[in-house]
């Protein structure tokens, strides 16, 4: 007996769908699939709203622990740039799940095109930095920042998604951990802690060398990823990003993490300095370079004063005698 392709597809979808019996959620469809689990569009029957439900593929204890860890981390990070967790629980088959706000918008890698100018791209970059800096201030590393994990909402809101590889730095949050991740107390937020299981997790191209090599990581690993995101944002920008922005990317992506910006705020500050026409720490300038930048920054002032002086001089020169 043979089954048609459509019948096979329906069977595959049905087998893939989580059993939500006994929960307050009703399955509406699938939103995406990751390595660890899937994200489904469900309706919260109590609150009568659509939410996203994330559940792991198989009832594996280590994956279950990681999903729960992810939910707890996100729940502690209340920030407009981080998707809020609404609820967490266990399905009848024993798989844990959590629900979160259903984000509608475009992924950063799908959104950026030639029509987006460099000013808008940098504005987006600032808004990406904000939740990451907030997470660091609360002792959490993202460790998988990339354009595909950033959503831009219909009103320009920026949301950093997929905290599945996030890592706790601070003792306060680590105490809520279920023990699956080896944690060390970091007195300094920039201090180094052990990676979970010494395994390599992340996305090539956006992963810091120390993360790639399975070494200990700190918040400079996220700085590296943000440098890659900035590079991505600038790669086809019109007009092309100047040398000072390229230098900022290079510093953020330095192989030696001690050379990188110490924090996300430092990186964002340097980009803000570029926007303001001020010197950036990543790009030492000559005296002429500084003078030219000062002129470029104050060109309207200079032109207005020059116009005034020229008019005055001409009036004096051609005055009636």
């Amino acid at each position: 007996m043979f089954l048609s392709d459509s019948a096979l597809e329906r069977l595959r979808v049905a087998a893939d769908a989580p059993d939500l019996a006994g929960t307050r959620y009703r399955l509406l469809g699938k939103l995406g699939q990751g390595g660890m689990g899937g994200v489904f569009r469900v309706e919260d029957s109590t609150l009568e709203r659509e939410v996203a439900l994330k559940v792991i593929n198989v009832a594996d204890p280590s994956l279950s622990a990681r999903l729960l860890q992810e939910a707890r981390v996100i729940a502690k990070l209340e920030h407009p740039g981080i998707v809020p967790v609404h609820d967490a629980g266990t399905l009848p088959d024993g798989r844990p799940y959590y629900t979160m706000k259903r984000v509608q918008g475009n992924r950063l890698d799908e959104l950026v095109n030639d029509s987006v100018g460099i000013a808008d791209r940098l504005r987006m970059f600032f808004r990406i930095c904000e939740p990451v800096a907030f997470a660091h201030a609360h002792g959490v590393l993202h460790r998988d920042l990339k354009p595909a994990n950033i959503m831009i909402g219909p009103f320009g809101e920026v949301l950093v998604m997929d905290w599945g590889l996030s890592k706790l730095l601070a003792e306060g949050i680590a105490s809520a951990d279920n023990g699956s991740v080896a944690e060390e107390r970091a007195a300094d937020p920039a201090a180094v802690v052990a990676t979970s299981h010494g395994s390599v997790l992340g996305t090539p191209g956006y992963m810091a060398p120390e993360q790639r090599n399975g070494e200990t990581v700190n918040q400079r690993a996220d700085v590296y990823a943000l440098g890659s995101i900035l590079e991505f944002l600038l790669q086809d920008a019109q007009p092309r990003g100047p040398a000072r922005l390229a230098a900022i990317c290079r510093k953020a992506k330095a192989e030696d993490r001690d050379v990188r910006y110490a924090s996300v705020a430092d990186l964002a500050d340097d980009v803000a300095h570029f926007v303001d026409g001020l010197p950036v720490s990543a790009y030492p300038e000559s005296v002429f370079g500084r003078a030219w930048r000062w002129i470029a920054r104050n060109r309207t002032w200079i032109l207005l004063l020059l116009a005034y002086i020229v008019v005055r001089a001409l009036l004096i020169f051609f005055r009636p005698r």
Binding site: A265, A272, W301, L315
Partner: protein, 119 residues
């Protein structure tokens, strides 16, 4: 400092320089003190008017146009008050308009927020 105060200060300073430039016209050197005082008062009035406008209307283009208009109008008043047949319209109104434009630009740009990361 706020926008009207910035306009006042800038208008006063530019007014003084505007008045001092009369020194290059030997015919009016004897009236330097009166010219400098008059020019300064004109700059102060223009500055405060343009500064108040900038507080109410947040638009660089409108601020510059308003500044130009106020500068020209006040300079026209000064020209009209000149005794004798020569009112120096061109010589007084042209720099007066530029001074108004400078103040209009400065008061609109003053105090614009800068993007910064806050956690």
């Amino acid at each position: 400092m706020n926008k009207p105060v910035l306009g006042l200060v800038l208008g006063g300073i530019l007014g003084i320089f505007d008045g001092l430039s009369a020194w290059f016209t030997p015919a009016v050197r004897s009236q330097m003190m009166g010219i400098v005082i008059g020019s300064t008062v004109k700059g102060l009035i223009a500055g405060i008017l343009i500064g108040y406008f900038a507080r109410k209307v947040n638009s660089l283009a409108l601020g510059i146009v308003f500044g130009l208009g106020v500068g020209l109008l006040l300079a026209y008043g000064v020209c009209a008050m000149q005794p004798g047949p020569n009112h120096y319209y061109f010589e007084i109104m042209l720099p007066g308009g530029i001074v108004g434009t400078i103040i209009g630009y400065a008061t609109q740009r003053f105090g614009q927020p800068q993007p910064r990361i806050s956690v």
